[in-house]
Subunit: 233 residues, 2 copies
DNA sequence: TTAGAATTCAAACAAACGTTTGACCGATTC
DNA sequence: GAATCGGTCAAACGTTTGTTTGAATTCTAA
């Protein structure tokens, strides 16, 4: 037999699946994919060890399910928001601020909603971005492809003077700063240390990040912007 | 007996140690810490399985040795370069460009030098930044503490209008974009796709990154820079 | 109420892990 | 030339890993 049959969602099945997903989300976030065992997950979820393979097929498929559960709705929300902003602004092109807002607001909403995993999931997502496992990279690339393409087009209209190549790079840097920030164990501690009032919510963090990224995106196109290495090398 | 005795470096010992470090560097870079086994490493290095524990004590200590070998000299070089730039510019404060140059140039030199691991090591470093393992985070924090403090002070002088809190955040974002960029499996492919001429060297990548980050660092201080969520939430 | 499917469960599977051991080799030293 | 020491080696250590199995249990439907 090739492959295995994942059962339908009866009420009973859905309950244990959710317990597994919740426990896996927390543990994968804490220790990463490789360092988290199915025994830890099933113990934390209060279900039998075999339940993961029964309901999800394998550890890898469980990980993908953990990501999909939150990521899919969030990315759909992002595209929908971008579309709405564009319609509201038409026929004028959208500003960088608005576009970045369309990326951040759904993430912020998710971070604020404990029922949807809250901050935990964003940290997991940031970690996944840096994970070397091929199946994770492949999964994320697929999951993000349409959204990224959509936003790249929007940024292209907002920054018409930028060559496509340069834009691709800058968006790459944006994703980097974003995922690193989200993944940050240290970042959350940094927040708490610097501004105890904001402690515990990623919102303040992302609101700090946005102006930084916008300035980078809007940076003048460099003919030859030295980092001044000539007299040093 | 607490701990174990790591032998002195006789010529024979040094040779196998280096073979192990080289193989470990490549494999840790490719698969991460957890997903790389000592058997893979010793097989690739052409040494006996027990050699790792004999020469380094444990897998964790091997990983730290892999990082230290390159990171320690590079960070010393960074601080030395910063000091030199400051002396040359005195009594005027250093520009952001120069400061960032002091961070990037040693990294570029390392990336260009195949004898020192070249690109491989920078990718490994980027990965390590995102690794959840406590011993890695602890190690990096210690290893970077003095360098970061030194650069933060320099940036503080270059951007006197920025509150310390804001500066801490922006430096955090800089480190994020930098490490994500270095770690990027995809980034290198991106380079090759966008500009085959530059293919294979991280230099072009970092030269693109610098202006982006400088613009972010210099971004005006936001009183309340909306990402415009009010009418969307 | 009973047949049958869906789910749970304890137990076992083979494989891989990091680490340790004790015999063995080769050079250096007394 | 015997003793010593640093180093290598094959083999085994005890755990832990993801996955599978087949019997018990719970639910569903006729």
């Amino acid at each position: 037999m090739r492959g295995k049959v994942i059962p339908f969602d009866t009420p009973r099945s859905a309950a244990t699946q959710e317990k597994i997903l919740d426990a896996a989300e927390a543990l994968f976030m804490e220790h990463g994919f490789e360092a988290t065992s199915l025994r830890q997950i099933t113990a934390a979820a209060g279900v039998n060890l075999a339940a993961v393979n029964y309901h999800f097929g394998s550890k890898e498929e469980l990980f993908q399910a953990v990501l999909t559960r939150r990521l899919d709705p969030m990315n759909q929300e992002r595209v929908a928001l971008l579309t709405r902003f564009e319609r509201e602004a038409a026929p004028r092109p959208l500003s960088c601020e608005k576009i970045l807002g369309a990326m951040f607001i759904p993430a912020l909403r998710l971070a604020r909603d404990p029922r949807r995993g809250g901050k935990n999931f964003l940290r997991l997502l940031g970690r996944a971005y840096a994970d070397p496992a091929p199946f994770i990279r492949h999964f994320l690339t697929e999951q993000y492809a349409v959204m990224i393409a959509r936003f790249k087009a929007a940024f292209g209209r907002a920054l018409p003077h930028l060559p496509k190549k340069e834009l691709s790079w800058r968006l790459h840097f944006v994703m980097g700063a974003l995922s690193y920030t989200l993944a940050g164990t240290d970042a959350l501690k940094l927040i708490a240390a610097l501004n105890p009032r904001d402690s515990g919510n990623d919102e303040a963090l992302l609101r700090r990040l946005a102006p930084f990224l916008i300035a980078g995106l809007k940076a003048p196109l460099s003919q030859d912007d030295e980092i001044d290495g000539e007299n040093a090398v």
